[in-house]
Amino acid sequence: MSTVATSQIKLTPERPRASVRSHLQDALPKIVLAPSFAITIVFVYGFILWTVYLSFTNSKTFPSYVITGSRAYQRLWGWTFDTDPPSSWYTSITNMGIFGFLYIAICLALGLFLAILLDQKIRGEGVLRPIYLYPMALSFIVTGVAWKWFLDPGLGLEQTLHQWGWTSFHFDWIKNKDFVIYTVVIAGVWQASGFIMAMFLAGLRGIDGEIMKAAQIDGATTFQLYRRIVIPLLRPIFLSAFIVLAHLAIKSYDLVVALTSGGPGGSAWLPSNFMYEYTFKRNEMAVGSASAVIMLMTIVAIIVPYLYSELREKPR
C-alpha cells in the first residue's frame, strides 16, 4: 500500500498529447487509495507510536503524557524471571512459545499432509475440501466454546466414553494447569489446518506435471519426489502459510478466553491476554502498553529476517 501512495505521479513525456484526463486516470488509483492509506497511517502506525509513548509514562486508568521512565519495562523484566511460582508474564510468554511453535508446526505439517493426500486425484475431493476448510469460517469464539464443551470431562468426550462403558478413560487437560495450553493448540490447529491445506493444495496444483514425470522417468520414488522436488517448489507457500499462522498465533486472545477463561490460576494466558488484563482490568495502562510493545518487537524480530531472507532471493 505504501508504494502506491508514496510513489510520485509520473508525467508521461513520450506522449505529448497527455491531457488532464489521462493525468486524472493516472492519479485515480492513488486518490481512491488515499483515505484507506491515511486511516492505516493513523490508526495502525500512529497508535503503535502512541502505545510506545504510553509505555514510558505512568499511565494507570487513563493515559498520562508525562514521561516517567522505563519502570513498566523493569517490572516486566523482573517478572520474566519469576518462575516459581510463575508470574503471569512468565506464564504468558512461555505459553506463547509453546503455543506458537506447536500451532505453526502442526498446522504446516498437517496441512501439507492433507493436501498431498487430497492431491492424489481421489474421488469426492470436491466434497472433502470444503469439509476441511470449513472450520476457518468460524470465529475463534465459536471454536473455543465448542471445544470447551467437547473437552470438558463432565460434559464432552470423557463423559461420553464413560457412558459407553470405557470408564478408565481419562482426559482432563482443559482442567489441568500444566496441560491447558495444549488444548488451545488442539482447538487452534483444528481451525486453521484446513485453510493451510487449501493453500498447499493450490501450490501443488501449480507445479508443472512435466517435472514430476521427468523425475519418475529418472526413477525417483514417491518419497524422493516429494522430498526433493515438490516440497522445495512449495517454498513460497510455506512463507505465506507461516506468516498467516504466525500472526494468528500472536493475536489469539479470544480463543484462550472462550476455551479456558484464562485457565486454572491464569495458566493459559498468552501475552495478548496479559496486555488486555493489565490495560483494561487492572488499570495499569503503562504495563499493558509495554507488554504490547514487546509483543510487537517479538513478531518484528521473527518476521522481518524471515521476509528479508525469502524476498531477497527472488530476483535471482
Binding site: K281, R282, A292
Partner: protein, 417 residues
C-alpha cells in the same frame, strides 16, 4: 489485537460523538444489566422516570460483561461525550472523579438526606472530595452460604456456626456421596470465597487491617497463613471438574441437589428465585460460619457525570429516583441485593433479604461493614487483581504452600500498590 482495540475505541468514540445532540428530557444510561432479572429490575426505574416525563436511553454496549462497558465508557469520556450516568463499581468511580469528569450532586444529597441514610462505608465510594458523585443502587454482600435444604436434611446437618463445624458438615456430605462444596474455579470466585475465609479466620479487625488498609504486618501474619490453610481445606471438598466453571453453574449444582453448599454473594439468590425455589423451604441462606455480625459488601453505583447544564435536571431526577425508598425496595427485591440506604422498610423482601437488611444495618452501626477485596471494594483494581492471582494460583497448585502464598501475596500487593 492492540490494533483492533484501538480502532474499536476510535469507532466507539465516533459513535458516541454522533449521539451528541440530545434533548434535555432524556436520561442517557450506560449499564450492563441485560439479563432477564436485572433488566426487569431496571424497568422499575425507567417507569419511575417516565412518570416525571424523562425518557430513558440506553447507551448501547457490545458484549455482555462489565469490561466491555467500561472500555466503551473510557472511549466516551475520552471523547468528551459523557452519558448522564453509568453503572460503575467501587474504585472506578473514584478514578473518574480524580480525573475531574464527575458531576456534583451534593445539593440533592442534602435535600434527600443521603448522608444519614447511606452507610458510611458506601459513601467512601460515592463521595469524592466532599462531593456526591454517585448514587449507590444496592448493597451486595458476599459472606453467604447457600445450602440445599433437602440435602442438608438428608445428611442430618445443622447450621454451621464455626469453621470447624463447617468442615464437619462438609465431611458429612462427602460421606453421603454428594459434592460437598460447589465452586467455580475462576479467580474472582475463589477470591470471593477467600474473603469470607479470612474474615472467619482472623475476625473483623484483622480483615479490615489486611484487606482494606493493606497493612503489611497483617498480610504476612500467621493468621493469614492459617487462612490459606483453611482455604486449602475447603478446596479438598470440591469436585474435580470445578476449574473454569461459571458461578451460576455452581449455583445450579446446589439448586439441583448435586452439591450441598456454595459460598457466593447474594446475587446467587437470583438463580434460586429463577428456579422457583423458596428460601427456608427449598434453600437456606446462612452467613459464612464465623462471620455473623459482619458484612463484606460490594455495591453497584450509578456514577453521575459532569453533563452540560441543560442535562442536569434529568440527572438530578435520575439520582433522586435511584435513591428513593420505593425504587430501592422494588429493585432490590428483584435483584437479590439489599437497599443502599438503611431506612427502607423490609416488608416486601423474602427471609434472606430481611436478614440481609438487618445484618447491613447492624454492621453499619457496629463498624463491621467492610469492602470486599475480591469484588474491588477493598483496594484499587491493580491490587485486587494481584490478590486474585495469588489466591487462584494457590487453589490450582502453582503456589504450593501457605508460607509461599503469604510471601507471594505481600510481594504482589506491594508491587501493585
Amino acid at each position: 489485537m492492540l490494533r483492533k482495540l484501538l480502532i474499536g475505541t476510535a469507532l466507539a468514540s465516533g459513535l458516541a460523538f454522533a449521539a451528541h445532540a440530545e434533548d434535555v428530557k432524556e436520561v442517557q444510561m450506560l449499564h450492563w444489566w441485560t439479563s432477564g432479572g436485572e433488566a426487569a429490575a431496571l424497568n422499575v426505574l425507567k417507569g419511575d422516570l417516565a412518570k416525571e416525563g424523562y425518557a430513558w436511553k440506553d447507551v448501547p454496549v457490545a458484549g455482555g460483561g462489565g469490561d466491555a462497558a467500561m472500555t466503551a465508557l473510557k472511549a466516551m469520556v475520552a471523547a468528551g461525550n459523557y452519558p448522564t450516568a453509568s453503572q460503575m463499581l467501587g474504585y472506578t468511580v473514584l478514578d473518574y472523579a480524580a480525573a475531574g469528569v464527575m458531576g456534583d450532586l451534593t445539593e440533592t444529597a442534602k435535600k434527600e438526606g443521603w448522608d444519614k441514610s447511606v452507610p458510611a462505608a458506601l459513601q467512601k465510594f460515592s463521595v469524592y472530595d466532599g462531593k456526591w458523585v454517585a448514587a449507590p443502587v444496592n448493597v451486595h454482600s458476599v459472606n453467604w452460604l447457600w445450602i440445599n435444604k433437602a440435602v442438608l436434611d438428608k445428611i442430618g446437618g445443622t447450621e454451621p456456626k464455626t469453621f470447624d463445624d463447617f468442615v464437619a458438615l462438609l465431611d458429612k456430605a462427602k460421606a453421603a456421596g454428594v459434592i460437598p462444596l460447589a465452586l467455580g474455579g475462576q479467580n474472582w470466585q475463589e477470591a470471593t470465597m477467600f474473603d469470607s475465609v479470612v474474615l472467619s479466620t482472623g475476625g473483623p479487625e484483622f480483615y479490615k487491617k489486611a484487606f482494606n488498609d493493606l497493612d503489611d504486618a497483617s498480610l504476612k501474619s500467621d493468621t493469614m497463613k492459617k487462612s490459606f490453610d483453611n482455604l486449602a481445606k475447603l478446596v479438598t471438598y470440591v469436585d474435580p471438574n470445578f476449574s473454569g466453571r461459571d458461578w451460576n453453574l455452581a449455583t445450579a449444582m446446589v439448586i439441583k441437589g448435586d452439591a450441598l453448599v456454595q459460598v457466593m454473594g447474594d446475587w446467587a439468590k437470583g438463580e434460586f428465585n429463577a428456579a422457583k425455589k423458596t428460601p427456608g423451604t427449598d434453600f437456606l441462606c446462612y452467613r459464612f460460619p464465623g462471620t455473623d455480625g459482619s458484612v463484606i459488601y460490594n455495591s453497584d453505583m450509578f456514577g453521575m457525570f459532569n453533563v452540560p447544564d441543560d442535562r442536569k435536571a434529568a440527572q438530578v431526577a435520575l439520582a433522586t429516583a435511584t435513591l428513593s425508598k420505593s425504587f430501592q425496595s422494588a429493585f432490590n427485591v428483584v435483584k437479590g441485593s439489599v437497599p443502599a440506604r438503611t431506612d427502607v422498610p423490609d416488608t416486601d423482601f423474602d427471609a434472606c433479604g430481611k436478614k440481609g437488611i438487618a445484618d447491613l444495618k447492624a454492621a453499619n452501626e457496629g463498624g463491621t461493614l467492610f469492602g470486599s477485596l475480591a469484588q474491588g471494594y477493598g483496594a484499587p483494581p491493580a491490587v485486587a487483581n494481584a490478590y486474585k492471582d495469588v489466591v487462584s494460583k494457590f487453589v490450582h497448585g502453582q503456589i504450593k504452600t501457605s508460607d509461599e502464598a503469604v510471601t507471594e501475596l505481600v510481594k504482589a500487593i506491594d508491587d501493585a500498590k
